[in-house]
């Protein structure tokens, strides 16, 4: 396995763990949403590192397609979470 894959795969795992820790520990909802996004980015990094085949060969397109889907779903889930947070704050004020 290539060293590049190892480096980025380990970084992806650490990002995932870092994000999950912040999501559990922080109290602020916005911080938790940021943390879940960071976790997702870590998973995407691991996927794309698996797909990498070196500087000369074309990379594997299937994980790329999965991560592209994941990026779009992550932003729409973030948007829904932010809308829920806004509604929650308004409900707390009433």
């Amino acid at each position: 396995m290539m060293l590049t894959q190892l480096i980025f795969g380990i970084a992806g795992g650490l990002l995932f763990a870092m994000g999950l820790r912040s999501a559990l520990i922080r109290e602020s909802l916005l911080a938790r949403i940021l943390a879940v996004n960071v976790s997702g980015a870590g998973i995407f990094l691991a996927f794309v590192a698996i797909a990498y085949r070196g500087l000369e060969e074309t990379p594997d397109p299937v994980p790329h397609a999965l991560v592209l889907t994941g990026i779009v779903v992550a932003v729409s889930a973030t948007a829904l979470a932010l809308a829920l947070r806004r509604r929650l704050e308004e409900a707390d004020d009433e």
């Binding site: 190892l6 870092m18 996004n37 698996i50």
Partner: protein, 317 residues
């Protein structure tokens, strides 16, 4: 393994990425955290380019850094009571969480190394590259997204629609921004048409080069964000019925293409021979408009004023 300069670059990028993530997540100032998260998204886009994933780099720059950052910056306005509390759970619980996360990262690393090194059997990539000529496009990522795994993309558009319906149901839109000054108005006037043109270009070129419906849809959503910043009100958006059709249009195009196949005695979403390229272009166009309007309505923050009265509950913030 030989260590080249590329590995030095990779290590630097990975360390910078982890450092940015740590400082974005661990500070108490949320504004700083959001801005650092946007920088994190841009660095991630650079890493996608390094890992030879240009479609992902385009999407991450537009969506992960741009749109996500815009949404988070807007959300900073909603003051949250728990943000002012400096309360932390007790230190034993925090230590336990850190240990658990280290264990999780270690098991993730083990699973990752096993997955990459052990099984040298046939991969899906072989199937994808083998059937690329019959797929109707020559960009392998577009072929996988819209032909080989078209069902996954259909479900993804459904998830996008569900999230949009949730956002529309949760309250009315945010208060529009005030009218722009000369400079911001000039920026919006010049950049918005350019964004539309580049989005169309990305959609067309997605068939044979990096690009495609998602990147184009994200650029159109960015155009909606720019127009909003330039003072656009929701009355200037298309009519509510048209918006509903545009939101559902991506899924409708997919279903039509899928059922068109069944009428020719093929499986659902198995494009007829020779028609794949044209069908993919039509589906991508409808999907681009759906994605753009979904993300644009997400930036607006809720159902636009002027829609049915029963949907405008709650205070406007």
């Amino acid at each position: 393994m030989e260590i080249t300069l590329w590995h030095l670059l990779d290590s630097l990028l990975a360390i910078l990425l982890l450092g940015l993530a740590w400082s974005a997540l661990s500070g108490t100032d949320l504004k700083r955290g959001v801005v650092l998260f946007m920088a994190f998204g841009l660095l991630l886009s650079l890493i996608w380019a390094r890992l030879r994933a240009p479609d992902l780099a385009l999407a991450e720059a537009a969506i992960g850094a741009g749109l996500s950052g815009a949404l988070l910056l807007l959300a900073l306005r909603d003051r949250e009571k728990s943000e002012n509390k400096a309360g932390q759970p007790m230190s034993l619980l925090r230590l336990a969480t850190v240990l658990l996360m280290l264990l999780l990262a270690a098991s993730f690393a083990l699973a990752y190394v096993t997955a990459v090194t052990s099984n040298t059997g046939g991969r899906l990539a072989g199937l994808a590259f083998g059937n690329l000529e019959q797929s109707g496009v020559s960009n392998p990522v577009t072929a996988v997204l819209l032909n080989f795994r078209a069902y996954d993309t259909l479900l993804e558009l459904a998830v996008l629609l569900a999230a949009t319906l949730g956002i529309l149901a949760l309250g009315s839109e945010r208060r529009p921004f005030r009218r722009p000054g000369v400079l911001l108005g000039a920026l919006v006037t010049w950049i918005s048409p350019l964004l539309v043109i580049v989005a169309g270009y990305l959609l067309w070129t997605g068939a044979h080069a990096p690009g495609g419906a998602f990147q184009a849809g994200a650029l159109l959503a960015a155009a909606i964000v720019m127009l909003r910043l330039g003072g656009m009100t929701s009355e200037q958006l298309p009519h509510q019925l048209l918006q509903g059709w545009l939101l559902a249009g991506g899924i409708a195009a997919f279903m039509l293409a899928g059922y068109l196949a069944t009428f020719h005695d093929l499986a659902f979403l198995q494009y007829p021979a020779g028609w794949a390229g044209l069908l993919i272009l039509l589906i991508e166009s409808a999907a681009m408009l759906s994605i753009a309007l979904s993300l644009g309505l997400a930036y607006l923050g809720g159902s636009p004023s002027g829609w049915d009265e029963r949907s405008s509950r709650g205070k406007r913030s």
